[in-house]
Amino acid sequence: MNDKNNDLIDQKLQDLNNDGVDRRGFLKCMAWAGTGLVWTMSGGIPSSRAFAKGRGKEAGKGMDFSFVQISDSHIGFNKPANPDVTATLQVAIDKINALPQKPDFIIHTGDLSQLSKPSEFDTLDQALKGASAKQTYFVPGEHDMLADNGEQFLQRYGKGTKGSGWYSFDHKGVHFVGLVNVANLKAGGMGSLGHEQLEWLEDDLKGRSASTRIVLFAHIPLWTIYPDWGWGTDDSEQALSYVKRFGSVTVLNGHIHQIMQKVEGKVSFHTAMSTAFPQPAPGTAPSAGPMKVPADQLQRVLGITNVNYLVSGRSLAVVDSLLADSGSPASGSGSGAGGR
């Protein structure tokens, strides 16, 4: 983490503290949609910067471990703008395999499938077998719970999980929590965690030292991005109240098929691109349906998220990178959560 980035982080934190919503930063984040961005975790200050060519090796230096987030593969989707979502998932996996540092594992933040079909899950499993990281942690998206209230998903990916598929695990000192906010959704509402899961979460976090780095991941954003489109989770505030005492919290979500970031105190929120198709920015289209882009532009709006964790440093670095190899218009910027 160089000084320039730290300055940017400070600047951004200041902006955020002043008015709660950093407009400039928000617009900047919007400009990132379809660009590369790496998160680097350094001891409680999550930050991000563009994943540019030639910086990959540098980014890999001194990392204690890294993992990759992929999301919204929608295997089975076959309409514009992406008639071949299996191919773009494969490109994402190739991208993972080309990372300078082999990730310890992959997190898939849901919507593995389009219609919860066994054949769709099979295709995803088959593709992931080719990934350099052999372990993948999943949480379901609403598309994975379509046919059978998630039975199929739970059978395949939910062994040892609680309720509709939530769980936690520790990896090299970081506590990861996979949450399910797509089950038993109420009419008129957004995503929902539900009472049982919230109780479990409170209990799961109880007794952990405040210095424990926490990573929460779930399909639908755990912060309200755009209620009109249901882009938020009705009871996420309660969940977030349980993590407030921790020095570093990173929240990784999918669902909205574009990069959005927000920092609130020590909590840093991030949504990933899809490996299948883009969705419009909030309110810019009549609905949240798939955004149609020219074929040669598609891989510029799809991507993966690489998360580097530095035990010795002070931040978690999250880098989103496009499936498209070149021509990324991304310019880096820091965003940080204070590890105060």
Partner: protein, 118 residues
């Protein structure tokens, strides 16, 4: 037949014809109602349209998904529940009891609608 009787006969006949017509008419209307009562709801851009429809008892409502994303149609009080409705697929339900039926898409619960059966 005197004038009065003739008038009564004519009147009775016309009333009878009138009633016959009425009966026939109401039958026809009823038959028409039955088919006209069947209503269509389009799912387009994550919206049920029309959002509220009113149909007579016995009507069948058919939902058609015009989106590129699958939806469902689920009654909030468990009266009906569709399977996944993928693009251009339909789901139909016959309403045999009067009442107000609220429903939503269990995948995108912001999508809500109402069927009024009367």
């Amino acid at each position: 037949m005197n004038r009065k009787n003739a008038w009564i006969a004519r009147f009775t006949a016309s009333v009878a014809i009138g009633i016959a017509l009425l009966v026939a008419g109401s039958t026809t209307v009823k038959a028409n109602d039955q088919s006209a009562a069947n209503a269509e709801v389009k799912i387009d851009n994550f919206v049920f349209g029309p959002q509220t429809i009113t149909v007579p008892v016995g009507a069948t409502v058919t939902w058609t998904n015009k989106d590129d994303i699958p939806h469902t149609t689920v009654s909030t009080d468990g009266v009906f529940k569709s399977k996944v409705i993928d693009t251009d697929e339909t789901f139909s339900f016959k309403f045999t009891k009067a009442g107000t039926y609220s429903y939503y898409c269990s995948v995108h619960p912001k999508m809500t609608g109402t069927v009024v059966v009367q």
